[in-house]
Symmetry: C2
Subunit: 347 residues, 2 copies
């Protein structure tokens, strides 16, 4: 069907060895023949079979991404597409392929084991780590190189990860609100068995504590980060006898819900109630144009994908290097959703 090494070398009157070497940049080939080979390869659109190459070299030249989904709510992580796009750029530049598996809940461990046993990939990126995430020990066990996007509290052994400094991001955001005079701040957080959500709450409560403000447990919600969740959380908190004057919100999607709740009770975001979100810079959900709609802690998930992929490829290339870590600091972008605390609060 399509050209293979045998045919190509036949056509050139050379051995497969020489052609292979010419194309893979080995030195023991004269410059003249190398030119001739490369030219012929381009002309016939010859590309080595990924499978044959992989079999011969023992490397898959592929990286696995396992996307979790539960059959109940069928939720797919919204940052997934952008992260993948970023990682894909890195893979493309390095001649790697990206293979995706979807794992339903409990079957997750099996998916990783299968990936390893079938030698389908040279490594994996671990998405959405939970606290004490079991996958880290598992991957260490089965000897599959990996990089975690995020971190997993409670894991003893070192491992490679790339994370946003969620704690400092939410800490700074909280301080920013406190500086504006807000004292009653609602937290609309992700599910707190997710490591990032746990850390964000830590940053929030620590910053409050630093100013001697007590964190009110009734002003902290945690759940799956949908628009609806943002809406109901904010609506309920605003209905409190002593409602918050500001919200710290875990994602832009949630933030849209929070804004809806604020406007539903006739208040104005940025004036009556301040809102800070975390912005993953999702391509299809930009935080406004030149002027951000929401004041936000911002860190591009696509860039994270690029970097995490680079880390992983590096780990694969140098197998016994110690675990590497990258901690990205989020920027605090001031947009239209924050302002001084309303004065009637301090009569």
């Amino acid at each position: 069907m399509s050209m293979n090494l045998k045919e190509l070398s036949h056509k050139l009157g050379l051995s497969q060895t020489t052609v292979s070497r010419a194309l893979n940049g080995y030195p023991e080939v004269s410059e003249a023949t190398r030119q001739r080979v490369q030219h012929a390869a381009k002309q016939h659109d010859y590309r080595p079979s990924a499978r044959a190459k992989g079999l011969a070299t023992g490397r898959a030249l592929a990286i696995g991404h396992v996307i979790q989904t539960s059959t109940q709510h069928e939720m797919v992580n919204p940052i997934f597409a952008d992260f993948i796009a970023g990682a894909g750029e890195t893979y493309a530049r390095n001649g790697y392929e990206m293979v995706l598996s979807i794992a339903e809940d409990a079957a997750e461990e099996q998916v990783y084991r299968a990936l390893r046993a079938r030698r389908a990939v040279d490594g994996v990126i671990v998405h959405a780590p939970r606290m004490n995430d079991a996958r880290i020990a598992l991957l260490n066990d089965i000897g599959l190189p990996f990089v975690v996007h995020g971190r997993a509290s409670g894991i003893a052994l070192p491992y490679s990860w790339l994370d946003v400094n969620n704690r400092s991001a939410f800490g700074r955001a909280t301080t920013f609100l406190l500086d504006l005079g807000h004292r009653r701040i609602g937290l609309v957080n992700g599910l707190e068995f997710m490591d990032f959500a746990h850390r964000r709450r830590g940053g929030f409560t620590d910053a409050l504590a630093a100013l001697g403000v007590a964190a009110d447990p009734t002003m902290m919600r945690s759940g799956e980060m949908t628009e609806e969740f943002g809406f109901t959380s904010a609506r309920d908190m605003l209905a409190d006898a002593n409602p918050p004057t500001a919200f710290l919100v875990a994602s832009i999607i949630c933030g849209l819900g929070v804004r809806r709740a604020i406007e539903a009770v006739g208040l104005k975001m940025g004036h009556d109630v301040s809102v800070i979100i975390h912005d993953d810079v999702l391509s299809y959900l930009q935080n406004g144009g030149a002027v951000p709609i929401f004041t936000a802690t911002r860190s591009s998930v696509r860039e994270a994908g690029r970097l995490a992929a680079e880390m992983l490829l590096h780990n694969i290339a140098t197998p016994h290097a110690p675990a590497a870590n990258i901690l990205l600091e989020a920027e605090l972008m001031v947009g239209g959703s924050t302002g001084p605390a309303p004065s009637q609060d301090t009569p």
Copy 2:
């Protein structure tokens, strides 16, 4: 490292032939040895190397998805994640892998050619077809099986596709608004070189024409479906001397922007201004809970992924079958965003 056929057959005192046949369900193996083999395979977690198997059989057992992204705006199609999740379920059930490539703009053709030449996949799903999409002829040319998610107007040869009936969906939505008394309806559409957007506009204008309502070109916008685009489009149209009393909007993300614009001018969605969106049932952007926020034409993109993948696997299994097509009808879900046209409109 991990168990292979040779070792396993050695351990069992059988030939590789017999073990392979036992595991792949061939009849020329006694039931007793089959049991023995299967048990041993499970025990040692033996799984055939995907590469070796592929090389031997000539099939990749993998399907390709090419995700387009432009370096300028880095936009990733928001429905991608859910579609992939659906398709992935089908692949997992059938022992296929999913490989993702990202293609930047112009390099797209090369990506498909490379996929084919390296025999990396047995087929591909074509995403986000444009009008007269060149990929269809290309894939036919290079002989790579494919299924299009959507359709491409202007292509002569038959090809397999799965699409939502965008025309009838937007036609019915328009009629619904007309029945409510709306006569001035704004269209916030996707980019119109995208086939789906083209069809939606057709459904819209035809339904208007059927009632003798002229379509006003100033009330039709088309652009990348972001929240911001929804906002600016609706804001501008509402600023018109003769503003629309209803909007037909191409996506929920756009819809959120439209709602923001409506509320920004002090109007109430569902009362002063009606809105109908198209809802792809994205897991992370649900259209409300039990009661839909937006009245919507609805069709699950995840389900589309499942079905498209099944079509493709079927096409691959029966190479010379004629092209198959599936046209899904969208449901019209009535939510809180629509109501009768305000009476001051017809004094």
